[in-house]
Subunit: 308 residues, 2 copies
């Protein structure tokens, strides 16, 4: 295990918007600070961050706010993968410049059915153009959304060509067989695997993963981080079961507005419910239903209210 | 029919790149000028333009080059739909500023399974923010690539809310039943339908379409434009059959590199073969095979070589 690398539980930080749909940097910094206080790192600008609904300028500005607020960049793995090569290069170089531990990189996702040759060339161009030995790229495999997969063959080629830069993967396939195959093939040689949901946290840790990057870590960070820290403890299966109960409730809604509704409720801050189109907020009835279900499980967000 | 609106055959203009993958404005202007000379309009920055592989800055700069070269903006319908609302607004406002006839607007395409409410809100925000009565939006329905459809219900809602701005649709579903349903429902009240392939040109014109926007118009513009102009002539079915023969050959390759290979060959300009990742060029063998098949059909690109 390479301790210089980022590990543990990370949250694809939800992005707050003002009523005019502009990013709300102040609330963003506050939420990131709370996540760090819960021992959860910052995979800002992921799928659950509405990152692709932000312009490149907006992402850069929000990241600058985190840095200016003094948040620990060694706990940051911002998403930088765009459809357009120059934008991916620009965001990746910026993340490196401000000292982020790594970047989470979607493949270009507009064209479907592209070849592994073309995807290899995409990642290779970014790595070559950024040209920084410190760069740590975490490949982002999320076929249900991007529809463009990161295959085992592609990982192998990238690792061979750029062993210092290709550091790991977030596997959001939701397919345990794929996560297990990636772990078996590449984890023994130091490739860092993060499943994309805490549902697979315990099984993944037992199979050689280094953490997870999960939407639900936005609202349930402490318990997820605790399972990561104590996965070899006697109560690990019980902890996993408890995490799954919360996850199951969240997954019965559209995830992003549901996360924001929970933060709005437990943070006492209704402004958090705003999403950018094409997403829509939960209805008032859905939000109330969500809160009731979570309360029924004694769900809490300790310290969130105090940080307003 | 509203003669102030753009009609006829348009080409999603392929974007030339230099060997360092930067956009080649000079070749771009030259190709656009040739297309206009063949009576084909410019749907620059479409799917076949690798538009989503370009940054917003690159698109704006290329469009500025067309304007500076004196090309007719009343024949232009650039693509402006991005995943991020601010970028769609920026590109759309710019296209309006330079006098383009309209814009071709993809829905935000990262999130899948989004609601018509969310898509309505996306288009509505763009129209409201651009805030220009002259704006003509052509909705871009291309479910095989974007994976986010423009439904008949969404068209109806948008037309009701913004009758002056929502001008038409490019239907690249490849599904004649859908194109026919859109034509039947909305063409009679002046909604302009462009099928996304000349394969459907004759059938669409007979059913009330106003033209087509087709990849193949990059290389076969004259004959496609002639069928549009003479669709009521006695030889129309024969013309359609001839167009289909060329289209069928092109469709047996990955379209974008195949278009560029044809332009490189008939234009005597090998630099045209460059594509941005995640696409890859045709192999030399594929390109030679393509040329042989097209030559076998007496395919030509008249005037292209002279315009170098």
């Amino acid at each position: 295990m390479n301790h210089a690398r980022i590990q543990g539980v990370l949250s694809p930080v939800v992005t707050p918007f003002r009523s005019d749909l502009s990013p709300d940097a102040e609330r963003f910094v506050r939420h990131c600070r709370w996540l760090l206080s819960q021992n959860v790192g910052l995979a800002a600008f992921g799928t659950n961050s509405e990152a692709n609904s932000l312009s490149a300028d907006e992402r850069i500005e929000l990241l600058e706010h985190l840095v200016a607020a003094g948040l620990d960049t060694s706990r940051m793995m911002p998403g930088t993968g765009c459809c357009a090569l120059p934008e991916t290069v620009r965001l990746t170089a910026h993340a490196m410049k401000v000292g982020c531990a790594g970047v989470l990189m979607l493949p270009p996702f507009y064209y479907k059915g592209v070849s592994d040759d073309g995807l290899f060339r995409s990642f290779a161009e970014v790595i070559e153009r950024v040209g920084d030995r410190r760069l740590r790229v975490y490949l982002y495999h999320i076929p249900p959304v991007a529809q463009v997969p990161i295959t085992l063959g592609l990982i192998e080629r990238l690792l061979k060509a750029y062993p210092d830069n290709v550091a790991g993967i977030k596997d959001s396939s939701g397919d345990w067989a794929n996560t297990k195959a990636v772990l078996d093939a590449f984890a023994p040689s130091g490739f860092d695997v993060f499943p994309g949901s805490e549902t697979f946290l315990l099984a993944s840790m037992r199979a050689g993963a280094v953490g997870c990057i999960s939407a639900t870590a936005n609202i349930n960070p402490g318990p997820i981080a605790r399972l990561h820290a104590t996965w070899q403890a006697a109560d690990a299966d019980r902890q996993q079961q408890r995490l799954d109960e919360i996850r199951t409730i969240m997954q019965s809604y559209v995830m992003i507005p549901a996360l924001k509704a929970a933060i709005a409720h437990w943070g006492g801050d209704p402004a958090w419910t705003t999403v950018r189109p094409p997403l829509v907020p939960l209805t008032a009835a859905q939000a109330a239903d969500l809160v009731t279900k979570l309360e029924h499980k004694d769900f809490q967000m300790p310290g969130l209210l105090e940080r307003r």
